[in-house]
Symmetry: C2
Amino acid sequence: MRYRNLLIPTVKEAPSESSTPSHVLLLRGGFIRRVGAGIYNYLPLGLRVLQRVANIVRAEMNRAGAQEILMPGVLPAETFKETGRWETFGDVLLRFKDRKGGDYCLGPTHEEIVTDIARHEIRSYRQMPLNLYQIQSKFRDEPRPRAGLLRGREFLMKDAYSFDVDEKSALLSYEKMREAYKRIFARCGLDFRIVAADSGAMGGSTSAEFQILAQTGEDAFVACDRCDYAANVEVAAVEAAPEIEQTAATHRPMEKVATPGKRTIEEVSALLKVAPADMLKSLVYLAAGKAVMAVVRGDHEVNEIKLARALGVPEVFLAGDAEVERATGAPVGFAGPVGAKIEVVADLSVRAVRNGVTGANERDAHLVGVNVGRDFEPARWADLRSASKGDRCVKCGGTYESYRGIEGGHIFVLGTHYTEKMGASYADESGALRPIVMGCYGIGVSRLVAATVEQHHDADGIRWPVPVAPFEVLVTPLGTEPDLAAATDLIYSGLLAEGIDTLLDDREERPGVKFKDADLLGIPVRVTIGKKALADGKVEMKLRTEKAATPVPVTEAVARVAAWVKEARAR
Amino acid sequence: MRYRNLLIPTVKEAPSESSTPSHVLLLRGGFIRRVGAGIYNYLPLGLRVLQRVANIVRAEMNRAGAQEILMPGVLPAETFKETGRWETFGDVLLRFKDRKGGDYCLGPTHEEIVTDIARHEIRSYRQMPLNLYQIQSKFRDEPRPRAGLLRGREFLMKDAYSFDVDEKSALLSYEKMREAYKRIFARCGLDFRIVAADSGAMGGSTSAEFQILAQTGEDAFVACDRCDYAANVEVAAVEAAPEIEQTAATHRPMEKVATPGKRTIEEVSALLKVAPADMLKSLVYLAAGKAVMAVVRGDHEVNEIKLARALGVPEVFLAGDAEVERATGAPVGFAGPVGAKIEVVADLSVRAVRNGVTGANERDAHLVGVNVGRDFEPARWADLRSASKGDRCVKCGGTYESYRGIEGGHIFVLGTHYTEKMGASYADESGALRPIVMGCYGIGVSRLVAATVEQHHDADGIRWPVPVAPFEVLVTPLGTEPDLAAATDLIYSGLLAEGIDTLLDDREERPGVKFKDADLLGIPVRVTIGKKALADGKVEMKLRTEKAATPVPVTEAVARVAAWVKEARAR
């Protein structure tokens, strides 16, 4: 392809709205353009990358035995009303009426529609396992679309749905998808971790996220430095600190001290000269309308998902000032477990705090020398805190490293959550009707494009991995003299004949402009044809990931470049 | 691919909602399933056909130098408000608000968005000609979705937009698309005509429809039996009948006759024993609020598009009873041009009517012996009637044949209609700013799937042309005995090795069931492996389009079938 025949509107500065590297570089490189909040045009180069990622996804889904279908983007409300998600989706579901007043929405995900297919077409256990997938534009009315393709409102998604006779078979389907996803992410050149995740909202039991490592990621997770355990901080289990001996000998007496106006861990820690790890942080939450006090070490954070799970409620909410005062008799900042009038639930690590400091449930006062067992006893012990770097792995005793990531994929065993609600059942070998067991598996195809840029760029631009690059090779002639034009033509047509996807920069621009655009666009290999080197019968081969260029004889250039690309494709 | 690994839910009866052959057969063959009015799921076989058609479209667009992009499906209202189409689109445009109250719509077509790209990215004449296209799901809230994929609400469309420096260059872009479309329709195996069409609504000047011949088509057009002229009946020019001598010698005197209660051409024709061709049909229309009388021969129909064009107004409306009486002094059925108090516009063929019959502008009376020139003189003469079979071609004097068709594609020169409204201009060679000249080009990709079935089916099912077939060859073993299984495997794996897209019917079904499904699915070639023929070392090769099967030696089957398919691909 010739550069002059392609719309590649590179620009020097990205609009101020853009923040993350992928957003800036995809705009600057003319890959995408903004149409509205979280809504983008894919210009020719952007679409080429998107299609390459989609084709890798398609190939691996097919290899795993999944069948491609295409469901509509505009969905009638009926099936969503059957599962209750017409309400529970909230404002993310964009609802509207058609000209006849019928209720419709833009499909944010297609469990309902595919389950409707299943209940009509699956009759017998013989028809399963079955896995149906699609690659389709989705719309979710996100409250805060951000960072370009990383969190858009309209985005390209691959969503797959498996149907099995029982949970055991469903887990096999799940494992197949897990393996397919590993291949997909690896083929896209992404550094990722498979991370245990909260699957409550989807109604499932087993689930994992494919997290693409990136500083700019929205998700925080921990991964063991020794074994393969990794989990979202929201759900990562934390090993309790070893219990320490709590005896009268080590216990100081409990005393009340004045802490006027000192409310936060930092303030009290500074005033009383105690380490935060020796303090008991006490927060009041509302759980199903009831106030409860959660106690963690002063250097830890309460994890609300874990707290809700410990209390057996779907959600907890931090109590407001008035509620805290009503529940504890003291203003915010002075609550504590000693003599608390409400249920106390304490994190496991609190067991190891000796002679701790906590609020006195009284304005401007804290207690020191507080000891579990002697001074208070929580109604429940639970793992309440978010995991963090340095914690010990619950699986192998290794040490957690903390990461930020971009959720590129998510796989779930859904069980019979949808099939029971919608009456999707099959006849087993005895002829008895049983609910189909489902799994669902998503990949944010357009998000993968942005995530690739997050991992593969430098100060000058993008550095596409070969399998997803818009072109594999960029041929850059620095002039139009006959010799130079002949060498250019030889190399360009030679590469095309080798099946190498090649872009020829045929613009009449200064070398500096061509090089700057080349770095910005990030095509993996550049072949530069200049007068000086050509006089010695040479051209330059330069990898986007390396600083230095290698002189190559004109006669060998096509073979050398093609060999490198073919090897990189297979990697 | 193995039949058992694919969801192909064939059924004996299509739902009663389905009418046209393509709708019935695509449902029965398990290609599509209905989700809502005009909204369908593509199951695996249906999606395969859709993707093949899309890939033919993509290949020919690329060959013509167009660049693929992807614009969003959810569009902010702003640009539609700039062009006025936010209002003029009417209820077909599905509008809604997002969570922040912003106005959005589902893109029915993308002139506004692509013009927005052009006004931001095109600066100079050097950047043109430019042609951007996309293949994308569109939604139009049609009042009467019908016939499955023929007129859906959500459908797959290829829409292309060309940008040129002037009208002359725009016409070259238009011609390129015309040629690309011819190749696309031919490659899909469609019998089509390129038909002149009304382009008023798009604001353009030159346009043509690609009409796929089908009895079930919504569009009527005429095509010359001698030259390449073809036009939608709405716009087809009609050659006036040769003028005849109008002299006193041939004229009878004009007389009033009583025609009590006889209002229609048929009634008056029967009563007075005159042929409809000798009558003057007079209809009152409102044009820009003013009543005018249109006069055509009794056996012709007034074409409202031509009438509006003749009067220089956007639309005309047939007047109601009260308005007719006010304008002519007589009830509906008795209007006529003689002594009419309103402007009379007459069709060219009226010139040749001698001693005609028409309404007397008086209740229960008609005039006979009416002659143009002597008894009345229209304010204007114009081509007012719809063309029909047997009319003479305006281009070559040949004879029109009449056809029904499915509009598969439509190409337009838009001129500066959108670019002027949206301020999309470029600097010409002198640096002066000029509006960009646009063209737009649409193909209903999913409609082409249905149209292919309309043209290629018989009583038993579909007969896919090779280039768009879901599979090229169906291998049908009639048993599982070792010999038979070995021959099946030889042929199936041999065809795959030859790159032939092959489906193996590995179901344990009776031959009758397999043959019935084979005919319904319409895969172009079937290789049947049966015990009896195999005993002679033979299998059967049968084309879906032919009744008889040909015995072929097992050892030659792969080569024979592969050769036929490869030849059919290239056709």
